[in-house]
Symmetry: C2
């Protein structure tokens, strides 16, 4: 069965700095009409950054939508027209202060395909060396943490890691 | 370092059927101000539904934001005031036609904490039996698939499964 939904009408609700929201009227497979509320997002990158063979750099960051600080792998939004690998290397250095001699693409996910078009592209960074000294950007405050890879599964099961992209990254290696 | 951001001002941009969008002015840890675009979402459930010890029910569904059909575990939005376990059992039956005698909570994630407050709560469903015969609801069209659990990791690595919640679920068991 072809499950696709054709757009009949699209109204832009909000064009923000990062997201855009639109409301679409679609034709369903049975011919009826329905509405879809859609958030457009530029997409992001996330990096499994190995300090050594069994230690990862992770970042603790306050996330306003959920009103708490959580532990995540380094990540960030793709700038307009930015190549995803360039973006990944930039975010790694901005968030951890490190650059990588080995930087490999390992896969992608959609974070919430029911209402949002955000893709996240994953990289594995190895053979790191010190880059810039200041961490974060003008409105981003970060605590860098070192975490043993052997603890990750347990931290996920205990709810100490709840960030979806972070959890996904460990299924890609 | 306390990384929290205090809300100074909050403007509702859009109140839709499923999502709400607001723009907040926040006070950063360094005392400066910044803006945060936030999408509020009611949250969802997702279910690892075992037909037998090594076979899962999965669903193929067209996702308008990304304009393609993808393979996911059964999942759905939490209705207003709905208990998450009740929601999980309802969605399992709506999307697969099955009910479960064993239905266990296994964890939660945030899908995209940089701009959205959506949590997804995971359940493991076993000892399934046939419930209703019609699958999907009035604006939801679904193909039910059976997938061997032993193939999952490979399907993720090959990009045949790109849905973040689906990938996360397999790190919780």
């Amino acid at each position: 069965m072809d499950l696709s939904e054709k757009t009949i009408k699209k109204d832009i609700i909000y064009s923000g700095k990062i997201i855009e929201v639109n409301l679409q009227t679609v034709k369903l497979p049975n011919g009826r009409e329905s509405k879809r509320e859609i958030v457009n997002h530029p997409g992001g990158v996330a990096i499994l950054a190995y300090k050594d063979s069994d230690t990862l750099f992770m970042v603790e960051q306050f996330r306003k939508p959920i009103e708490k600080s959580i532990l995540e792998i380094p990540a960030g939004k793709i700038e307009k027209n930015e190549d995803i690998k360039v973006c990944g290397m930039r975010e790694l250095e901005e968030e951890t202060g490190y650059k990588a001699r080995k930087f490999e693409y390992i896969g992608k996910v959609v974070t919430s395909p029911g209402f949002c078009d955000e893709y996240i592209y994953f990289f594995k960074a190895e053979d790191l060396y010190k880059g810039r000294n200041d961490i974060g950007d003008e409105d981003e405050f970060i605590n860098v943490k070192e975490v043993k890879e052997s603890r990750i599964k347990d931290m996920i099961k205990k709810g100490e890691i709840i960030d979806a992209k972070t959890i996904c990254a460990f299924m890609m290696i």
